[in-house]
């Protein structure tokens, strides 16, 4: 293998992407029926949101405690605009993403000009308000019982069924990861890393830190909204139960577990926390305990998360394997 090719494969932007594509392509061989597809699709949709959220947490050093609200706004835009107002699903999806982007911008703009963790508080409030609104405006949203969403039509074909949606969500995930990796490698990403390292230093170097943080927040919110729209069309149903505060925390947990500032970590974290409850059915009583413990233990003992820690260890092993035993 030529050195150039090796280097290319070791680069997460090509090697990692190829790996992820391979996993997505091979996984269906191990999925015996629609239930397994459903879990995989659920993991994929969460992973898309987490890749976006990871940009905010890992690179802008801010947390959002209301991301489920953005996912919900996307889902409900798709549902309400198509059902109540007869919009085309793609137009509804775009409008939802635009609306969420503008909302995120309006909220983040004044708040990210403050130093500190005010974004966490604001997103917490915003997320809960969104969930109260979709619960209350039953005339449009069906209230607590939710509402059905029509299938997505694509050139006159109905997109229905797990097998179809698996590939749609898989492709969307690949695209999101590619976007995220490119963003991190772009000047924006470099500026953000500078901010994360030392904000005052970055400012002295002339980086408009608030500007970049707002940009990343808006991008992550728009990604969440799009994932919400996809999820609504896949499931054919939206309900406010997953728009709440707890779901937002779940998303943060996925990112933290997989590894903050690691795009693939976000994917792994989302996959683990989506699959785990399905393996532990019958133990729902202990779900809260397990969840809380995962959050605390990861931050205390493995603050960089699964994927980065794994790579560090693997690299150390490789290095020590070459050296003579002590």
């Amino acid at each position: 293998m030529s050195q150039a090719l090796k280097r290319k494969l070791a680069d997460p932007r090509t090697g990692g992407l190829l790996g992820l594509a391979a996993v997505i392509a091979v996984l269906p061989l191990f999925l015996p029926n629609n239930f397994y597809y459903d879990v995989a699709i659920g993991a994929g949709l969460s992973a898309i949101v987490c890749v976006g959220l990871n940009l905010l947490i890992g690179y802008a050093g801010q947390i959002s405690l209301g991301h489920a609200g953005f996912v919900g706004l996307g889902a409900y835009s798709s549902a309400v605009l198509t059902v109540e107002f007869g919009w085309h699903p793609l137009a509804a999806m775009t409008a939802g993403a635009l609306g969420v982007g503008i909302l995120a911008f309006l909220v983040a703009r004044p708040i990210l000009r403050l130093r500190g963790h005010y974004l966490a508080m604001a997103t917490l409030g915003l997320g809960i308000i969104i969930s109260i609104v979709v619960n209350t405006e039953a005339e449009y949203t069906g209230g607590p019982d939710g509402m059905t969403v029509p299938s997505l039509m694509f050139f006159g074909r109905e997109l229905y069924g797990e097998a179809v949606w698996y590939w749609i969500v898989g492709a969307a995930l690949l695209f999101t990861v590619w976007l995220s990796l490119n963003l991190i490698a772009s000047p924006v990403g470099r500026a953000l890393r500078a901010v994360h390292g030392s904000e005052p230093a970055a400012e002295i170097a002339g980086v408009d830190t608030a500007h970049y943080k707002v940009l990343v927040f808006v991008i992550s919110a728009v990604i969440a909204s799009l994932a919400g729209s996809l999820g609504a069309h896949y499931a054919g149903f939206v309900s406010p139960a997953n728009v709440g505060f707890f779901r937002s925390i779940e998303l943060v947990t996925m990112v933290v577990l997989g590894g903050m500032a690691s795009t693939y970590g976000a994917v792994v974290g989302a996959a683990i926390l989506t699959v785990l409850p399905q393996l532990l059915t019958g133990l729902e009583d202990y779900e809260h305990i397990a969840f809380g413990l995962i959050l605390m233990l990861t931050v205390i003992f493995m603050p960089r998360g699964l994927v980065p820690s794994f790579f560090t260890i693997a690299r150390n092993r490789l290095a020590s394997a070459g050296a003579p035993p002590p």
Binding site: F30, P32, N33, N34, F35, Y36, D38, V39, G42, I132, N135, T136, A138, G143, P144, D145, G146, T148, E162, A235, G236, F237, S239, A241, N242, I272, V275, L276, Q278, L279, T281, G282, E284, D285, E287, L297, F301, M302, L306, S309, F310, I313
Partner: protein, 387 residues
């Protein structure tokens, strides 16, 4: 420490992935009759799912002891879905596709039922929901049945009683959960038919701890004779206490959503004189001896209370009825062929259950009449029969 932890975690994950990929149980459908259920055993609606699951477990055990159905044992497959539509959708796919169950009983709430109906209809498998709202069976869905009375029937029962007592001007205070919201809509739509006008219409959130502001507004609405409170959980108990605290003179009506002993326990003395519609189960011992439901409800109540040591609620009764409807349909069909079982459930006629006497038809997948509801009043901390 860290390294060890990561190793362990990875080991668990790999095992998990392997289990997911290869450990899929290929259901041998010929051996047992597989009854699938997905209830709200944890989360805010656990007071529904908990007695429902207990009831199913207990009766499937005893039916198996007596030889099962069609000479085949019953097997219960259960997933807890809390109150979450997403979990319900995943669970129903698992029940249908992976566990290959023959019939489905549940879920507990209207939201989870509505989320799964499209999948059930596409898959073609009989499902007997244990949730309340009328939208589940109206319009009729081919494969979906339900056992509890609808919220619309509860409104009719309450308004009938109000009319009898000469109340025509009422106020409402409703919970904003799925149950309260649905019933509020049904009652407001139905009020005019009974010549009743709803002059005050307030709501409260599922976690609210103080409803005196809303009740004060109702109190200050001129000429009200009664107040109706659709909702479940702790909310109605707080409403009841606040209602007495404010010294409101009118009559208070609750819904069938509070038909468990817990409500009386929480509201205490404030619950005295409150009326509500409920199934005969709550007043099993007070039923006349010639009441056709007497044997059934007394039997269920005794069995449940003996086995679990806690007071019976109507919610567990819904599960009992669902199970009985399902297995008697399977017995009549002579097989677990889904279409045959569905047709037999639809033909159910004269089944006497805890909720009432069931006569189903192609246009009626509930089969209960208004007479299945009893009007109760709380006296000295006990349910008493009014009519």
């Amino acid at each position: 420490m860290t390294r060890h932890f990561i190793k362990r975690t990875l080991a668990i994950l790999l095992t998990a992935a392997a289990a997911l990929a290869f450990g899929a149980p290929g259901a041998p459908a010929s051996e047992t009759i597989r009854i699938g259920t997905f209830l709200s055993v944890t989360g805010p609606a656990s007071f529904l799912g908990d007695p429902e699951l207990k009831t199913l477990r207990m009766y499937i055990e005893s039916i198996n002891k007596d030889g099962g159905v069609l000479g085949r044992k019953l097997e219960l497959v259960h997933y807890d879905v809390q109150h979450l539509a997403d979990k319900a959708k995943t669970a129903i796919k698992r029940l249908i596709e992976d566990d290959k169950v023959d019939v489905i009983i549940g879920p507990s709430t209207t939201g989870t039922t509505m989320a799964t109906i499209p999948l059930v209809e596409r898959a073609g498998i009989p499902m007997i929901s244990l949730a309340g709202a009328v939208v589940i069976i109206n319009p009729v869905k081919k494969w979906v049945f339900k056992t509890p009375h609808t919220d619309r029937m509860a409104c009719a029962k309450i308004f009938g009683d109000m009319k009898k007592r000469g109340f025509t001007r009422i106020g409402m205070i409703s919970g904003t959960g799925g149950f309260g919201k649905s019933m509020r809509g049904q009652c407001k739509g139905l009020a005019a038919d009974f010549g009743i006008s709803v002059l005050a219409d307030e709501t409260y959130g599922p976690k609210d701890s103080d409803m005196t502001p809303q009740l004060t507004k109702i109190k200050n609405t001129k000429g009200l004779q009664a107040v109706l409170n659709p909702g479940f959980g702790q909310g109605p108990a707080i409403v009841t206490k606040n209602f007495r605290q404010l010294g409101m003179g009118m009559s208070l009506y609750q819904s069938h959503g509070v038909a468990s002993k817990k409500y009386i326990e929480l509201a205490g003395a404030a619950a005295e004189g409150v009326r509500l519609p409920a199934a005969a189960l709550l007043v099993a011992d007070q039923l006349a001896d010639n009441d056709p439901q007497k044997v059934v409800v007394v039997g269920y109540k005794k069995a449940f209370e003996k086995r679990w040591g806690s007071a019976v609620s109507t919610f567990g009764g819904h599960a009992y009825d669902g199970l009985q409807l399902a297995i008697s349909a399977i017995a009549r069909a002579g097989s677990t062929d889904k279409e045959k079982v569905r047709a037999e459930i639809e033909k159910t006629s004269g089944y006497i259950g805890t909720g009432g006497i069931v006569h189903m038809s192609p246009d009626d997948h509930l089969g209960l009449s208004l007479s299945a509801f009893r009007m109760l009043e709380i006296k000295n901390g006990e349910w008493t029969l009014v009519d």
